[in-house]
């Protein structure tokens, strides 16, 4: 079970459980292996156990059961300051009574690094986050984005191989957040460090990560690269948590290896990929992304099942059109189409036929 190959299992959670009160498990049997140099995001709603996992890795919480390994060595009983893990906190946690340079110098001082070397490293770290001229300022004199950069530089300055980030961009406005996402990603790639990143923002998770672990109810619901996570959600929680999603309820009518025909509650038939259904008669929740819905009959397979839909609302959003339809008795079926010269704008009241490629529609657990 233990991987001695530290490149595959640089950070390993092995059957980790955590309980605060001895009655409820906040983290239930977590098994996770993170490779060296990987950017892994723990994504989930609040209370899903993702931050607890991060705190256990950092050493601020102890695992109730199971082992956590770093570089092949069990670290359960190593205090946080000896783990050598860099960490960026949600509110940055820059020491307000020290200047930026003193903040960065702090981890080097406690490691008893000489003054000249310290100064060189601090300057290098500041330059890396493009804050080279700000060494003499106090954290309170910096904007949120600048503080964020300093916090990042401080976590990196002592050359930790593993950096943990606990919703580091939560306090920034949208534009700055998007900018910082790329910047963090680039810095991590350039330095080749391993990053464990916690967020509840799915866009952030998809943009930055090599792999995303979706947490819910103390368990990892799905661990996959972003595209797989988005296009092939393994269960209805992941499908609904990641991105926008249309859902329809029905029963499996016919099932093959990679095609299941589902009869919706109003009697219509649709083509799906069977994911969490195994036999005819199973209740299922069918999931289809708004941008994969097609209403141009020519683009569909000749024998594909289609559904009647009534246009309720057309919203112009610049780069895309967003159309709300009534499908199979439900009023919240969304279709997204790209704003292109030849794109048709649907009008409210219009009745159209919609369909999709069977592989885009997934029959999940009900």
């Amino acid at each position: 079970m233990v991987s001695t190959n530290t490149d595959d299992g640089f950070v390993v959670f092995d059957g980790v459980q955590k309980s605060y009160d001895g009655e409820n498990l906040v983290v239930k049997d977590l098994n996770l292996s993170i490779a060296r140099g990987e950017f892994l995001t723990m994504l989930g709603p609040s209370g899903s156990g993702k931050t607890t996992c991060l705190m256990m890795l950092a050493g601020f919480e102890t695992a109730t059961n199971g082992a956590i390994r770093l570089g092949g060595k069990e670290i359960n009983n190593i205090p946080p300051h000896k783990r050598g893990i860099g960490m960026v906190f949600q509110n940055y946690a820059l020491f307000p009574h020290m200047t930026v340079a003193e903040n960065l110098s702090f981890p080097l001082e406690v490691r008893k690094i000489g003054k000249a070397e310290r100064e060189a490293k601090v300057q290098r770290a500041l330059d890396m986050v493009q804050m080279g001229d700000f060494g003499g300022r106090r954290p309170a004199q910096l904007s949120g984005g600048q503080q964020q950069r300093i916090a990042l530089a401080r976590a990196l300055v002592f050359e930790a191989e593993l950096v943990l980030m606990d919703e580091p961009l939560g306090a920034l406005d949208k534009q700055l957040r998007e900018h910082m996402q790329f910047e963090i990603k680039h810095i991590a790639d350039n330095l080749g460090i391993t990053v464990v990143y916690v967020t509840h923002d799915q866009t952030e998770a998809l943009t930055m990560s090599d792999r995303v672990a979706v947490f819910e109810d103390g368990r990892i619901q799905q661990l996959a690269p972003p595209d797989e996570l988005y296009e092939q959600p393994k269960n209805s929680f992941v499908a609904q948590f990641i991105g926008e999603n249309n859902t329809l309820m029905g029963k499996v009518e016919k099932i093959d290896k990679d095609l299941a025909v589902v009869r919706l509650d109003n009697g219509d038939l649709i083509d799906t990929v069977p994911v969490n259904v195994s036999s005819v008669g199973d209740r299922t929740l069918v999931s289809i992304r708004p941008e994969r819905v097609e209403f141009n009959r020519e683009r569909l397979l000749p024998d594909a099942h289609t559904l009647k839909a009534e246009v309720l609302e057309f919203i112009y959003m610049g780069d895309i059109y967003r159309t709300r339809l009534r499908v199979a008795g439900k009023d919240d079926f969304i279709v997204k189409t790209r704003n292109a010269p030849d794109q048709r704008r649907l009008k409210p009241g219009e009745v159209i036929e919609i369909g999709w490629r069977p592989q885009d529609c997934r029959a999940l657990d009900a």
Binding site: H81, F89, F95
Partner: protein, 527 residues
């Protein structure tokens, strides 16, 4: 108020109805300000009348000294001509004694000479008894000889009505200045007795002054007078040269030989001005002597020692409060809210019991037959014969006051510590700091404002503390405040008490200022 006519040509900004905008704004704001003032007015008045004004009055007493110039005004003026010379100094001349004679004659009637005596006794011991004795003797001086000689010359001098008529005549005051001045005193004395001026024969001091005036005036001045009693006066003027003179100096010396002592007169002169630095000098173990400012005698120098002790013990108390309060505040701020609230109530519990009860409890605990000594003896740590003395000394005061003032340290510390997010210490640890380094380099600096606030509070409260040192301080554990209370209620030297209080207030303000310069008062946070 400015209006459009006298403003620069560009004109002020006008509001919609043409009045200057500033004026409209003022009117609009005035109503708000008035409303705010009305709301605070009751409390403001109450504080002003019942708190600020008495304190200001009390502080003013530290320099106020008009008792000397009010009680013996003529003497004060007469003494201006006289200079105290250290060593070979001599008592002043007869003029001063004459002035003192009139002053004390009036003061004796109003009994103000005893108050003067008490006041001057603060500066030179013996003044109080000297003035009492003189007050008793002043009516029995030999000056009745003058009275008898005037009466023998002309029995009309016995007639009060003739005196009244003469003294009211214009020009008399110029011819008989000392008599006129003494006559005013006589008028007040008669009024005080509820008698009628025209029915009471003047007392000897009037005749004495008359004699002095007639001796001093050239005959021509008296001869020029033509008002009521002119004949009688002119007759007396020609006869006074034959009167037997009586030395007022000798009369005073007969009452008490101290009146020949230049030291006595020097003291009166030194404290004759209506304002004095004497109380403040006494407060710092100096004294204002006739020869200038001098050190108090060694055995009377207590105030600097008391100020020093007050400062020192307040520092120790403040330090103990920091040492004891910091861990508790830390614990409180890091516990879950429900537990910390419970503990906070325990911290506040002492506030709900009487200060007297808490102090007395320490007496029970610390006294030689008390609980702590009993336990130590029982444990065999201390022999029954030499039980520890832990009360009625500095130790007892420090222990009891630390206990009493501890909440004032814990509360500001707690409120500051509660605002320090736990992520700072976590960050420090994740950066490689040990628990101690994380605390000392990251947590502690951020809790300094709380320490500052608590320290100021505890220090200022303790340097003015009274009840606890009074009860458990004994002689070595008392504060300056106990001495102030002594002067207020026992020795009744309010001026000195006021001076000591003013110095205490000034010290607090200076410390506050120093603290502001060093730490910055903005850094003080009460949460």
């Amino acid at each position: 108020m400015t209006d459009a006519t006298n403003s620069p040509s560009t004109g002020p900004m006008l509001s919609a109805d043409g009045t200057p905008l500033k004026k409209s704004l003022q009117i609009a704001l005035r109503r708000q300000k008035l409303r705010a003032l009305m709301l605070v007015a009751p409390l403001l008045l109450f504080v002003l009348i019942s708190f600020i004004a008495p304190i200001a009055d009390m502080l003013f007493r530290s320099v106020e000294n008009d008792i000397v110039s009010e009680t013996i005004p003529r003497t004060v003026i007469a003494l201006e001509q006289w200079d105290y010379e250290d060593g070979g100094a001599s008592a002043p001349g007869d003029d001063v004694y004459a002035a003192l004679y009139v002053d004390l004659s009036e003061a004796e009637e109003f009994k103000t000479h005893t108050r003067l005596g008490s006041r001057l006794n603060y500066e030179t011991t013996g003044m109080s008894s000297l003035l009492r004795k003189t007050g008793r003797g002043i009516g029995r001086m030999d000056t009745d000889e003058y009275t008898k000689q005037f009466e023998a010359l002309d029995p009309t001098w016995e007639d009060p009505a003739a005196w009244v008529a003469m003294m009211q005549a214009p020009g008399v005051a110029e011819i008989l200045p000392e008599t006129a001045s003494a006559w005013q005193s006589w008028q007040r004395i008669v009024a005080n007795k509820n008698d009628v001026l025209s029915e009471e024969q003047p007392e000897d001091f009037i005749y004495t002054m008359l004699y002095r005036d007639l001796i001093a005036q050239p005959a021509s001045a008296v001869a020029a007078y033509s008002g009521p009693g002119a004949a009688m006066l002119q007759a007396a003027d020609s006869a006074v040269d034959g009167f037997e003179p009586i030395s007022l100096r000798e009369q005073f010396l007969d009452i008490d030989k101290d009146w020949a002592d230049a030291q006595i007169w020097g003291t009166i002169k030194a404290f004759s001005s209506p304002y004095t630095a004497g109380y403040f000098l006494s407060s710092v173990d100096l004294q204002l002597t006739p020869a200038g400012i001098e050190q108090q005698p060694e055995n009377q120098q207590i105030y600097m020692m008391l100020f020093g002790r007050t400062m020192f013990m307040s520092m120790v108390i403040m330090g103990s409060c920091i040492l004891l309060g910091y861990p508790i505040a830390y614990l409180l701020s890091n516990l879950p809210l429900r537990t910390s609230n419970l503990l906070l109530i325990l911290v506040l519990l002492p506030f709900w019991t009487s200060l007297l009860v808490r102090t007395s409890a320490w007496k029970v605990l610390l006294q030689q037959q008390g609980v702590i000594n009993d336990i130590l003896v029982w444990l065999g740590l201390v022999a029954d014969g030499d039980r520890l003395v832990m009360i009625n000394n500095q130790f007892g005061t420090i222990v009891a006051m630390t206990h009493i003032l501890l909440p004032f340290m814990i509360l500001p510390l707690y409120s500051v510590m509660k605002t320090i997010p736990p992520s700072y210490v976590r960050a420090a640890k994740s950066l490689g700091a040990t628990n101690w380094t994380a605390f000392w380099r990251v947590y502690f600096p951020q809790s300094v404002p709380g320490i500052g606030a608590g320290s100021i509070l505890v220090f200022i409260l303790s340097i003015g503390y009274y009840i606890t040192p009074e009860l458990v301080g004994g002689t070595t554990g008392t504060f300056i405040s106990n001495r102030i209370a002594y002067h207020i209620s026992s020795s009744l030297n309010w001026g000195l008490a006021a001076a000591l209080g003013t110095i205490l207030l000034a010290v607090v303000l200076v410390l506050y200022w120093v603290y502001d310069r060093i730490v910055g008062i903005d850094n003080v946070s009460l949460g």
